[in-house]
């Protein structure tokens, strides 16, 4: 397994002559192998250094891993979409059924309530 590390130098000071107080970090470059930039020792103006990743550190490889993401997405997408659509349709049907049942039962209840006083009123002289 090869890791391609890209050296990044950030200047934190500015003078009339140029930049200074360089801090550097290493990025995992997955696009292309650039062996000339993998050596941190080649930093010409490094004054203050910050090591974020080393050649053996697994952190950048884990963080910047586009390949697994691309591999996973096409496999899982069709099934996940189908399951999601079926579940969505089931939930929708269940919700509509419940709403219809609730509405019909309430209408029935209200019908009993409205007829009762009228019949009671009619019964009184």
């Amino acid at each position: 397994m090869t890791t391609n590390l890209l050296q990044i130098q950030i200047a934190t000071a500015l003078t009339e002559a140029g930049v200074g107080d360089i801090r550097w970090v290493l990025l995992d470059s997955s696009d292309g192998a650039e062996p000339s930039v993998t050596a941190p020792a080649a930093v010409p103006v490094a004054v203050e250094t910050v090591s974020v990743a080393t050649a053996t550190a697994p952190v950048p490889a884990n963080d910047a891993a586009p390949a697994p993401m691309k591999a996973v997405e096409p496999e899982s997408d069709p099934h996940a979409d189908l399951t999601y659509q079926v579940l969505r349709a089931l939930v929708l049907v269940a919700a509509l059924t419940a709403a219809w049942w609730t509405a019909s039962s309430m209408i029935e209840q209200r019908g009993v309530q409205t007829t009762a006083p009228s019949t009671a009123k009619a019964a009184t002289p």
């Binding site: 500015l14 009339e16 360089i22």
Partner: protein, 205 residues
Amino acid sequence: MTTEIVTTSLQWDAETLLLGVRVHARFFNPAEVDARASFVERYLPVFAKACPRRLGDEGGRTQYTAGELQAQPDAVLEHGNGLICLTHRHTDRLMVEPERWSGQLRADLMLQSVAISMAVAGALQRPAAALLRLGNALLLFSPGPQVLECLATNIGPALRYWNAAKVVNASQLASFCEPKLRALPGISVSTPPSSWGGVAAGNWT
């Protein structure tokens, strides 16, 4: 024969520490500075003698890619042994008050400038400084180790978070990292401006 290297430090009016980034500010009168002739005089009014050379043409903006980080800086200038990454479009109308500038400075803009300079530095393999030009202030960002580490190690997660195909841009990385930086212990403290150097309204460069 010896070559004399002039390392005159620049005159900044104020500085503060925001989210692990030391920010130097130079305030100026926009009416006076905007009327200057050259690009450097207008957009980098902190320089007295130096004249950084702009890379690329005036109007066009070049895309720089470092690994999975991509940025399109407003201007890249060659300055001595390194580069200056200047962000000025869409921000040169933003004004800050010299008395409250550290509270008015947007952290996402600051982190975006740093991320842009990271992309440029990685693409060109040269040290780069991040500068942001506001309407009446020029800011130099000096990111601390935690900030650089946060930005560098979160490119992959930001890529996945934004569901980006191959690269994440500086703006996306900045907005992804801002809450992470705020959550870091001891980094969210913002020091009040300590050295104002007698800057007062109307007394700018």
